[in-house]
Subunit: 417 residues, 2 copies
Amino acid sequence: MEYTEAELITIGDEILYGQTLDTNTQWMSVELDKIGIRIVRKTTVGDTEEAILQAFAEAESRAQLVLITGGLGPTPDDLTKPCLARYFHTELVLFQEALDQLTTFFESRGRKLNALNRTQAFLPQGCVMIPNTLGTAPGMWMQREGRVFISMPGVPHEMRKMMEDTILPKITATFQTPVFVHQMVRTVGIPESVLAVKIANWEKSLPDFTKLAYLPSLGQVRLRLTAKGTDKKGLEESVATEISKLKAHIGKYIYGYGEIRLEEAVGNLLKAQGKTIALAESCTGGLISHMITSVSGSSGYFRGSVIPYHNNLKKSLLGVTQEILETQGAVSEATVRQMAEEVRTLLGADIGIATSGIAGPTGATSEKPVGTIWIAVADDKTTQARLLQLTQARDVNIKLTAVAALNLLRQTLSEID
Amino acid sequence: MEYTEAELITIGDEILYGQTLDTNTQWMSVELDKIGIRIVRKTTVGDTEEAILQAFAEAESRAQLVLITGGLGPTPDDLTKPCLARYFHTELVLFQEALDQLTTFFESRGRKLNALNRTQAFLPQGCVMIPNTLGTAPGMWMQREGRVFISMPGVPHEMRKMMEDTILPKITATFQTPVFVHQMVRTVGIPESVLAVKIANWEKSLPDFTKLAYLPSLGQVRLRLTAKGTDKKGLEESVATEISKLKAHIGKYIYGYGEIRLEEAVGNLLKAQGKTIALAESCTGGLISHMITSVSGSSGYFRGSVIPYHNNLKKSLLGVTQEILETQGAVSEATVRQMAEEVRTLLGADIGIATSGIAGPTGATSEKPVGTIWIAVADDKTTQARLLQLTQARDVNIKLTAVAALNLLRQTLSEID
């Protein structure tokens, strides 16, 4: 079966000029992939009629399905609807259903519909309106000669809800889709090139219909296996077999499969073992706690944290001794061990995790350059500490430290050396 | 003067299929804009020779400058270099300078160059090599008939360093650039449509050569003014005049201009007033502390935080009374006020900030639905608290609460009602 090819068009000067980060197309890609739609191109154009119409025509020449985000706001720089109307040789007309929903939306928030908001109920004649339950701009589904154009607002949570509730099911009902089986293997604590050497022979032995991609990010490398064919069950079995072979080579670096994040995988280990954690974050400044609490249900294993950013608080809150701070310094193995042990006791957790280091760009000494960072994990039996020697960049150092600390916690829970 | 138009091409299945979020093109857009290069399109294609070559040809037909990221890794799915060689009718040859830098890079890390890494020293004949001081894949500058192609690694911090050190200066030296004056006005605490009504008359009175764009994000709206012409000084004066008129309408919502983030603006206020802060973050789980400490120099005003995620810690660490927890609950005005006041005292700060709420999706009660969140700011004179009624989405609620708490702190410091 031929698969359905889709293109994504993002409209907006704010994306083109970089004032806003586009997170929509990533999310859309993942969701479309799950239903067997193949994204072949992503294009971003600005708020000009010429560029938008050109992008529509090019996408239609290549793909059966064109998904558009952005340019649906109430202000005059929003051009997607007039462009869609022109491209489909129609005009904008009042959709009573859209006006009713808009009125309800405003009333439920105790606000009045103004004239600008009212323009959002005008849509291209002949389109299918897609309800927007979280905002004011409805979506649109337009179809001609086997080609479908879908227009959605650029506000991420509005777009996502619209996709989940209406658009993804409607795509599945409209297009025939092929069989892809993807599996993502998530590793932490091993550099890409070392990993590549370790699994080179395994990679060479993969079947022809299976493709491998390396996806590195800070401190992590994900491996994506994609098998393509017609028999879903057969492909799934083949991928599962290849992954079990892979585990023999690099099992201890694998923390999970699919969409799971490291903080979720660690949370699952904690839940399974009935253990709780507490953190003393100095140089990471709250990032690890934020990552952990971004996971729903984390209140079951996360007791809380102390962020003793000022050195006095390392003493007054966590009982790090004046002697250690003076002789070894706040960025030292002795300090980070005490922090991990003390926060564990103070917050009544099974495991304490601590970070202390020089994230930069200031704070370096001749013995401790920027990027010198200590992490520790303490349980009721032992305390393990690691020295990290990282980069010059503050944000990179904070993120790499968070990943390394979560990995040290994972290794402790999994009893990996 | 005609401005120089540029297109950005991102290469990689991982971006196309959504396994990796593209943050590179946003950063590049901002930096190129600063030197007067106009981005006209961004395109993402996958790891196939056909798609890459098509994207090269299309970009070259429209723009003088084509910036490419991705596809330079050491593994076989990285196709950018062979495609560039083919597109420029040349071949890949060993660059001794690249090999030397690669060898030094590995030696300095106590690692050995393997055969895979060695392939990274092969570049298209005739290209100008761009050194990569943070990684293993060099960049390339290729030029023919007034068109320039630049290829960079997709690893964000490597790409950025390469742009800053070599590519941006080389672009400025190669192309003549026009005069744009951009100014960004950053607001917080007012919805886009309310803002639009408040400034409608001001917007209508803007000169013809000046364009306004609304850039909403969670809890914030940025307004971007762009003036285009030939006389830089005149444009800057005109934009400054328009902005001073704007301030008369919405001054109290403006926290800054340009690239400044809310957490930096608040940090600057704290520095200027010589005040320190401490946080008690419950439902925000560390995000506010992370935002604050992402700013270099924050150790000058940030004492630290307590994250009393478990209710017992609200009592044991912050002295919230059992009576209040039982009668009002952990998510209540009384609790959040006590938290802000106690953390201020406990951590020895001038100002205490606290959050407590139901981020969701679990934890709701009949009286307190998901999205019910209290924030408070306490100084030596008064404590102010606000009730937020937010959305169903956990991540959105956490982020909106962080913005609202930073804004309440900003209002306190600026003495805005």
